[in-house]
Amino acid sequence: MNFHIKRTFESGYNDNNQEFMISGKLRPQAEAEMVDLMHDIDQAATQVRGTFFLNVKRLAYVNNIAFRALSRVIARLSAREDLQIVIVTSGVLGWSTRKFSAIAAQADNVSVAEYDRDFYPGQSFLEDGGFIPILRTQTRLTWRHERELLAKHGLKPGMQVADICCGIGDFAALVNRAFAPARLLALDHSRSSLDYARKVAADFGMTDIEYVHGDASAIMIEDNSFDFVTCRHSLQIFDRPELILRELFRICKPGGRVYVTNEKISQCMGEPRGDSITAAYVEVAALFAHFKMDLEFGPKSRRALIDAGFADLRMDSFTVANTDGDPQEFAEMVTAWQDVFLNEMARDRGDSPELVALMQRGLQDHITAALHPTGYAGWPVWAASGQKPL
């Protein structure tokens, strides 16, 4: 990929994806300032057969002078009957999809694809409002371990902190209370989750958390902004976690740390009926893999952080267990998993009744183990962090 650094924007063509990307800000005074960019787009398109992607998902600002120039080059390209043009926008920017859709309306072979919607396969299962109680329970269960781990991984009071993929914001609220950060930004791409997060924060009188709608793979935040960046249980549900890690690295200050947690769901365990439990979770991991989510990511976190450029790696694992506190909470969490995994995901995959029964039996055995007076039930989680080199 060849990138040309311009004053307010970057652009480049990736021939592997037949994609021309423009990011940053386009607010020229005259169309003449757009000549080089238009030429680059034209040149890129000459190499394309089939579909040409014009990626503007990180183009944060465009004035009408630049927009008219872009529309003209797209109109020129749309005259090529062999070419389909897809303009990739972002729902994170309130104007982007609407504005570029006006260009798409001008020609049959030009369309707009809102990137965020396509980037999170399977995520709808986890965004449904019914999943919220289980997320709160999970956070409550992991917080017992993470509160101490976070300090070990470098989180201190007074830091500038970002929680990326914050979900319903309960972890951010706990961090706010326990670590009193100087700034706390919590970002997620689910508006319904953020609405819930804001409501919870308001209920608890917290007015100092910035809840922000955003795309974790294209965060609209300046480089080197935060001392400590967290991203929990999220790399495992995106099919391209390296894109998110690249952004976590970018917004982290040099010397700051990025902290991630992930699972290895197949290692959920319990006794009695350990074999049944293990067999079920191996199938659950395969079920998630079908929807391009890697719930086995936990132990891979270290390698992923190293590949993303982090140094001074710290890695821990902990097991959330029925013996931590209230076994009923653990059982409720697995009950909610049953609902999502079996009633929604397995159904959508078209699983056989036998396979559904195997998973159903194993998860039920996990619940039984959690509530059994002499039983043990565990859910292992990996926490990893790395420092952005100075």
Binding site: R27, Y61, N64, G94, W95, L194
Partner: protein
Amino acid sequence: MCSERAVDLIEVSMGIHDFSSEWMHCDRISSYVARMVCQTRADPLFSANLFSSALNELLEIVFLNHGADGDMTCRVRQMGDVDMIEIALPCDDETLEFYRDVVGSLDRHDIQDLYHAALFAEGQRDARLGIFELAVDYRAKISVLEQSGRMTLAAEIAFGGVQ
């Protein structure tokens, strides 16, 4: 649009000569004002991006269409969910006529077609384009008020309802 009392949020003022000496002033003022105004909103980045996009278009129009001497003052007030952007500027008869003509055309039933025609027209850019965009895409209520050699271009926008 709302019966609540307006709250002053921010005011930026500079001589029109200075303002129109550098195109990037539009970008810098719109970015700064948007960041300040939106910092306490529910989604500060999302709001500031929309706010800056709208304000920048207004400032670019003022950059190109203004009278000879005096100050350009950009003031933002808030009334309920509505932001009121008011840009006061020096004006002559020609400038005032331009703004009055644009605002007068916003009531047309085919304003969306007019906007898209201007957006995709060949040749010189239609000077009214930015105001058309605010009226159509941002559903802004735009008005012009003249007072002894100066005028105020005002836009009332409920950014929460834009998307």
